[in-house]
């Protein structure tokens, strides 16, 4: 094939390195970016009138952020860059995109999806009150709007991002009151051997935690969240939880950032027809890829956290690797040693991520004891009770059926935020494995699409 038409979705670390590798091979890929500037979520850039230095924004990762930004900027003119553009559907080798009130259908020979991740959340009584945010949202307000989510903030959940965001708030002059981590010291120890595959990362993490402690941020481990205090009108007033010793505790605060690590944003891969497999350690359904990022669909390649959560460094590696696999498949052989080196790097990242998964386990047991009045699907305001009734009374053995009967996951977010908790709850309700409760199927559009787009002349 002369010059294949290649579309990359995502301009974070994976998309950037993929584009770079394709440009180096003399191709001109189209890069679709939902953001206004490249960098993705982790290396999100500030608007032009904001002036915080990368060191203050990204901390230890400042050099990497600079490198990714500059790598992308150097591609200017050699790629077809589409910022602020949503890839909302894919079918029959066509990617459907939308920018403002214009839509377009891009035919491709190869599609490389580097769609990143979103927060992995677990419902909690009161989590729908104003003032309760996801960790990712708490970061976006800081980086894009120079705002904190509140003046007295508590971060809740588990995973490296929990500590990173807390540290970023500290650095921004808004020291959090507390970090409430559901993982226990014993979990951290269990994860250590695998995490030791990247000692520098491990050390960075330890520094974050000690930095928070020195600044007087209370760190609680092994907690069980009970409820967000407050009300729907005035918002968050506090958080109630059980500590590691079984003591009931309460912290008054006016904002909560919560998240339990991340989930792969895999909806586009799903729409492209990629096969998924269940990962028992992460308890997530993930698109299946080979060791270079080839999906089960011949011309669809996947890279970065949209495949599995391996972090920003692995995203760069996998983006480069997937682009090289793509080039190989299109008859432009790549140096084998270079690909092998990237594959080995990926293995290291995977070992480390397994360590992280053990050190900060997804506390799925919470879903078993959650009060039945808890709202699980925020868009549709569906409670645990309504979901369980769909399973118990209407005989829904898996989550798509439970969705059909209860409306869970039917709202604007399309189950991207409630889907994983719903799977756990469906599994509990029928005393079955979470694997058997399935995963919510993706349906276009990936994100809400304005109907008014059809009025733009010359499209559709």
């Amino acid at each position: 094939m002369a010059d294949p038409r290649i579309v990359i979705v995502g301009a974070g670390p994976a998309g950037t390195r993929a584009a770079e590798a394709l440009v180096a091979a003399g191709l001109r890929p189209t890069v679709i970016d939902e953001g206004r500037y490249s960098g993705g979520q982790i290396y999100r850039r500030q608007p032009p009138n904001f002036t915080r230095r990368p060191e203050a924004l990204y901390g230890t990762e400042a050099a990497k952020a600079r490198a990714i930004h500059s790598a992308f900027d150097q591609l200017a003119g050699r790629i077809d860059y589409r910022p602020e553009t949503l890839a909302w559907a894919v079918k029959d080798n066509t990617l459907h995109i939308q920018k403002n009130m214009r839509i377009e259908a891009l035919d491709y020979d190869a599609l490389l999806i580097a769609s990143g991740a979103t927060d992995r959340v677990i419902p909690l009584p009161g989590w729908t009150f104003p003032g309760c945010y996801s960790l990712g949202a708490a970061q976006i307000t800081l980086k894009m709007q120079a705002c904190a989510i509140g003046s007295r903030v508590v971060f809740l959940g588990t995973g490296p991002l929990l500590y990173l965001v807390a540290w970023q708030y500290l650095k921004a002059g808004c020291a959090p009151l507390a970090v409430l981590d559901t993982s226990r010291m014993a979990d951290h120890l269990a994860g250590l051997p695998l995490m030791a595959s990247r000692p520098e990362q491990l050390l960075k993490g330890a520094r974050l935690v000690s930095g928070l402690r020195r600044a007087g941020v209370a760190i609680w481990r092994g907690i069980l969240p009970r409820e967000v205090l407050g009300d729907p009108d005035r918002g968050v007033a506090g958080i109630r939880f059980t500590d590691a010793n079984g003591q009931d505790r309460q912290i008054d605060c006016n904002a909560i950032g919560m998240g339990y690590h991340l989930r792969a944003e895999s909806q586009l891969a799903d729409l492209a027809g990629c096969e998924f497999a269940f990962d028992p350690l992460l308890r997530q359904w993930l698109p299946h890829v080979d060791d270079a990022g080839r999906s089960s669909v011949a011309n669809v390649y996947l890279a970065g956290d949209g495949v599995r959560i391996l972090g920003a460094d692995a995203a760069e590696t996998s983006g480069r690797l997937a682009a090289m696999a793509l080039l190989t498949d299109f008859g432009r052989a790549q140096p084998r040693f270079a690909m092998d080196r990237l594959r080995r790097l990926m293995q290291r990242h995977k070992r480390f991520a397994q360590g992280i998964a053990k050190a900060f386990p997804w506390p799925w047991q919470q879903m078993a004891t959650m009060p039945r009045t808890t709202v699980v699907c925020r868009c549709e305001a569906i409670t645990v009770d309504e979901l369980c009734s769909a399973v118990e009374t209407c005989q829904a053995p898996e989550v798509n059926r439970a969705k059909a009967f209860s409306r869970v996951g039917m709202g604007r977010c399309q189950g991207r935020f409630c889907g994983q908790a719903s799977q756990e709850i469906v599994a509990f309700a029928q005393q079955a494995s979470v694997e058997s409760s399935g995963r919510l199927r993706g349906q276009a559009p990936v994100k809400p699409l304005p109907i008014g787009v059809c009025e733009e002349v010359g499209h559709g």
Binding site: W88, A89, K91, D92, T94, H96, I103, A105, C394, Q395, P397, R401, A404, F405, M410, G411, R412, Q414, R441, Q443, A444, P445, P448, L449, P450, I451, G452, V453, C454, E455, H459, G460
Partner: protein
């Protein structure tokens, strides 16, 4: 030979709205029932359609069946113990051309002989009654006793009610072969065989393949409706809204549920595959759909689409379903191929088939749906089609 997993008076193949309601009504007539469903009940055309409980616009000769079904719709909560969100809020069709008014007036006159009440509304009247209507509409056709329901709930509700009455419902149990040996049919599935002297094929788009296996092939096209739903908005569109037109690309419809979401479909359908399990929505047609629904209610331009879907439907060549006893095999019955309009008919078809199977006859005319219209005198039919 594989062991027999179960035996009953009748095996129903297909767990859509027709198969499940037939199971229910057959149990009420004291026949023992086994229902075999390839996936989960109500998952294909029955669960993915628009949800229209519409009589206006049907072939006139289909109205007795539609009326019988409409009467059952009102009783579904008491029959099944489930709320299927049936709302008899009326059904309006807007007209885009003056010429179409005479067509609709003529239809209304004839439909009244079948007991269907239709009102032709002037341009002024539709603006008063339906302030959301687009400026192009010149008139409307109003059917006050039609409405809509939630398709995801209906077939499963009948299945649960049938099971409560003793029907054996087997999900994830596809019938791969049907044979008649002596008095009984043997139906083969991956998990074993089932035996019964009677079989009802109610497997929608899959019915074509089974009928062919039983030497009664019918022309069937497999297609998927193109459906979408918006984010919620204040509840302001109460009736089901459609179009009366001769131009296929203008056929669009929408309805709003009290929760606020607006469900829409129409304009085109796309080919679907039987082995894919799920028909996929084709995003390439979305803009054409958007334009047609904005003609119906322009203010929708301010809303966002949140989800699209499709399903697997069977369309018979002459746009009429296959219903009735087999021509060739005694004890075999068909009720499939409802051409994209089976949702409203479903409960009535189940009831009629139960009556026909249990008593040998039905008071509702269904002769024109007999499978023999494709299998009798093929030479004569070929001459007819060649003359056209």
């Amino acid at each position: 030979m594989a062991e027999t997993r179960g035996a009953a008076d009748i095996i129903i193949i297909g767990g859509g709205i027709v198969g499940c309601s037939a199971a229910f009504f057959l149990r009420r007539r004291n026949l023992s029932v086994i229902l075999l469903e390839r996936y989960l009940v109500g998952q294909q055309a029955s669960g993915t359609n628009f949800g229209n409980v519409r009589r206006q616009g049907r072939h006139l000769t289909q109205l007795p069946l539609a009326n019988r079904s409409r009467a059952i719709w009102a009783q579904i909560p008491s029959l099944t113990g489930s709320d299927v969100e049936f709302m008899p809020v009326g059904h309006v069709r807007f007209l885009w051309s003056e010429e179409q008014i005479a067509v609709v007036e003529d239809y209304a006159r004839q439909a009244s002989h079948y007991g269907l009440e239709l009102h032709i509304l002037s341009q002024r009247e539709i603006r008063e009654r339906f302030p959301f209507v687009g400026p192009e509409a010149v008139a409307g056709s109003w059917s006050p006793h039609d409405g809509h329901a939630n398709p995801r709930l209906v077939a499963p509700a009948f299945a649960r009610a049938a099971a409560k009455l003793g029907a054996a419902i087997h999900e994830n149990c596809a019938a791969s072969a049907i044979e008649k040996t002596g008095e009984d049919f043997i139906v083969t599935t991956p998990t074993g065989q089932f035996r019964a002297p009677l079989v009802l094929i109610a497997s929608g788009a899959w019915g074509g393949g089974l009928a062919e296996q039983l030497a009664e092939p019918v022309p069937i096209e497999v297609a998927g409706p193109q459906m979408g739903v918006t984010e919620p908005a204040p509840y302001f569109i109460h009736p089901v809204v459609g179009v009366s037109t001769k131009i296929p690309g203008e056929v669009a419809y929408l309805r709003q549920i009290p929760r606020g979401n607006i469900i829409f479909g129409g304009v085109h359908r796309r080919p679907a595959a039987l082995d894919e399990r799920r028909a996929k929505y084709d995003p390439a047609g979305l803009m054409a759909q958007f334009r047609q629904i904005l003609r119906l209610a322009p203010t929708l331009r301010h809303l966002r689409l949140i989800r699209t879907w499709s399903g697997v439907e069977g369309y018979i060549g002459d746009d009429r379903p296959i219903m009735g006893a087999s021509e060739k095999t005694s004890g075999l019955y068909y009720a499939f191929g409802f051409c994209g309009y089976g949702f409203q008919l479903g409960p009535g078809v189940g009831d009629v088939m139960a009556e026909l199977i249990a008593t040998g006859k039905t008071e509702t005319p269904i002769d024109e749906y007999h499978v023999n219209r494709f299998t009798l005198q093929p030479a004569a039919r070929l001459q007819v089609s060649a003359a056209h």
